[in-house]
Symmetry: C2
Subunit: 209 residues, 2 copies
DNA sequence: ACCTGAACACCGTTCAAGT
DNA sequence: ACCTGAACACCGTTCAAGT
């Protein structure tokens, strides 16, 4: 009922093409990223896929960087959704700490270009980024709390552990995507991640120094 | 004696401008990277700084990507040099494992754009990359050996520990450069790295699972 | 308010031509 | 062998003009 009055699918005008070009551009960007990588992601190509002129995006984004930021923001949403799903469906149900690490690495492997875009290029603290930062911080706080409960340690120490876990899986994912983990007889990314998160369990249950 | 016959510094010809344009381009690239970041690093700008036409680089590199690879390769050399220096001069002399982590993060903080270039964009296995890969693998093997001696564990386990250490400091550096580590009251990067490498000492001296 | 089409400066790449 | 200058296709960005 919130949609515009039905118009039998005839476009309201040959020029005004849809109500939400902004979202269409972000969607197009995700598609380009998946098909051709970051090099193929241009403003003009996104406009082409959205069936508008190459100047149209400038009515929704001040510049290309802003579109990239919006795509990255959408990426963080997708990451949250996919990770929550993966953690729920983990078989056999494994430790929350380990399943977090596995899900993080799995997301990076599934969306390499998007993952790189999200975590690269120091993006300015735009309003969009503030939203992202807040939702990300909230998730982070919940995660720290879970660690604190499970390990029965101080919040300060839980923070240290969570940073170590995050950095480890982030670094593993990045090094893997960059083809840096290719010596003789490399195990799969999955087994590396599993091995790594297991070792981190040792730290979690050890005495603080 | 291997140099060309002395010519009183007068250029051998107004067009042929130096003997080693290739190296000059790499050097120019490093300079651009430090001054303007990855966005400023164009083939034409590198040519400009080397005082040659914009087409000249194509006699030394097949395309832009090849120049980027050469710059990244030089970056790995610089990283090795700077890290060895930093580890030697660590005061007070700290554990080798910890000083490695600190030096790694320090390099990333000192050369953010170069560090990003080195570890990004899946570069093809060009001959240059094979050299890099080999020297990198050799260093890696020495490092694993040191861990094995110190922790008195199997080589397999030493490999796991070294990967955990590498991934941790790499992830920490990346997340820091990407401004992802900015919640309330963030400690300095140095103290985060120190804290992290200390925790990893726990893993190293713990019993294998 | 939202979109177009022309225009500008810049970039990567190619190529015939010069020494 | 190594470099230049012109040329081409593409991109980000701007702007007057249209509805």
């Amino acid at each position: 009922m919130k949609r515009a009055a039905q118009q039998d699918c005839s476009p309201p005008s040959p020029a005004y093409h849809h109500g939400d070009l902004r979202q269409a551009l972000v969607r197009a960007g995700l598609e380009i990223l998946e098909q051709g990588g970051i090099a193929a992601l241009t403003l003009r190509e996104a406009a082409r896929r959205a069936n508008v002129s190459h100047a149209a995006p400038y009515h929704h984004f001040p510049d290309k960087e802003a579109l990239l930021t919006a795509i990255a923001a959408r990426g963080f949403q997708i990451q949250t959704e996919e990770m929550e799903l993966a953690i729920e469906n983990a078989r056999p149900p494994i430790d929350g700490l380990q399943s977090f690490g596995m899900a993080y690495v799995a997301f990076a492997a599934a969306h390499p270009s998007l993952f790189r875009l999200m975590y690269s290029h120091e993006r300015n603290d735009s309003s969009e980024n503030k939203e992202m930062a807040e939702s990300s911080a909230a998730g982070h706080r919940r995660f720290i709390e879970r660690i604190r409960e499970r390990a029965g340690c101080s919040e300060e120490r839980a923070q240290s552990i969570s940073l170590l876990l995050w950095a480890s899986v982030h670094g593993l994912a990045m090094l893997w995507l960059d083809r840096q983990l290719r010596w003789e007889g490399v195990p799969s990314l999955e087994s590396l991640a599993s091995q790594m998160t297991e070792m981190l369990g040792v730290v979690m249950h050890s005495e603080p120094t």
